[in-house]
């Protein structure tokens, strides 16, 4: 009996979008070298990471408690960022 096909068009499409975002990231080097360019590069990186987390890491299919656990690391990183910023920005 022929095995049933595994639907993966959506995953390949997400991969295509990720490569497109990578190209966009590389194209930011054509912009004037300002802090906005860095921020744009990081924003594109955040979009890529969010897509990997939501679709490839299957957070889309997980229930609330797993999503809370998955955001724990980000929350603690925010604590780190706020504490460092409060130090360096007030020097």
């Amino acid at each position: 009996m022929k095995p049933s096909p595994v639907p993966c068009r959506d995953l390949i499409a997400i991969g295509g979008i990720l490569i497109g975002l990578l190209a966009l990231s590389a194209l930011t080097t054509l912009l004037p070298p300002t802090s906005w360019r860095t921020a744009l590069g990081l924003l594109i990186a955040a979009a890529k990471a969010a897509m990997v987390v939501w679709f490839f890491m299957r957070l889309k299919h997980q229930h609330g408690l797993v999503r809370v656990f998955s955001s724990a690391g980000v929350v603690w990183l925010c604590f780190l960022a706020v504490l460092l910023a409060s130090d360096y920005l007030t020097r």
Binding site: P3, V6, A26, T28, A49, V52, F69, A72, L80
Partner: protein, 206 residues
């Protein structure tokens, strides 16, 4: 929901909770170094721009593409394991493995190039007029962060090889998909770390 499917759903939730807890510690592991990068880049912008210009843009971009494609294969492998398509899963895992090894090979080429150009921090580090002495900080962070990432990639490659063997033996399949989920989560996380490393080291100063 039958008892068996309820048990399986519980296993999946437990696996996910445990793995995400571990990944949270990994985020903080790398997060400290990212914080150091922010502090030093803010303090020495010219040095970091000079450092970024001396990186190989095409090797870095190529490596990022390699990791993104490997994540696609890992995601398909995970789905194939759940669907009981072991041969497809095996093929995708081998593709991800090959791409992971390709990434590490390119990294080795890059490191060799940096060593040849005296860009490894230490006694033989060659100062440039554009970067000044602070450029060594950029390269210290570069080797520390990408080196730590490469160590994680090595472990990931080992885990994928182990998973491929388990899938081939039939020990991982639709009745027991958790190992595929765990290895997949790890691999995608390591990919996410590189997604942020790329714009920080390969794009500044161009």
């Amino acid at each position: 929901m039958s008892t068996e499917s309820a048990v399986m759903a519980r296993h999946e939730t437990t696996t996910q909770l445990g793995m995400w807890s571990f990944l949270a510690t990994e985020m903080l592991f790398f997060g400290g170094m990212f914080a150091a990068y922010v502090i030093f880049r803010t303090s020495y912008p010219a040095a970091f721009a000079a450092g970024g210009r001396s990186m190989d843009f095409w090797l870095g971009t190529g490596n990022t593409a390699i990791l993104l494609v490997s994540s696609v294969f890992m995601a398909i492998a995970d789905r194939a394991v759940r669907a009981g398509r072991s041969r497809l899963a095996e093929g995708c895992l081998l593709a991800a493995l090959a791409l992971g090894l390709g990434f590490l090979a390119i990294k080795a080429v890059e490191y060799t190039g940096h060593a040849r150009h005296h860009e490894v921090p230490g006694a033989s580090f060659h100062l440039t007029a554009a970067g000044g002495p602070s450029e060594e900080i950029f390269f210290f962070l570069y080797f520390a962060m990408t080196g730590l990432h490469a160590a994680h990639m090595l472990l990931g490659v080992g885990a994928v090889a182990w998973l491929t063997w388990k899938v081939r033996r039939g020990a991982v399949g639709p009745d027991r998909p958790e190992p595929a989920a765990v290895v997949g989560l790890y691999w995608h996380f390591v990919d996410c770390v590189w997604i942020f490393l790329y714009p920080l080291f390969y794009l500044p100063g161009r």
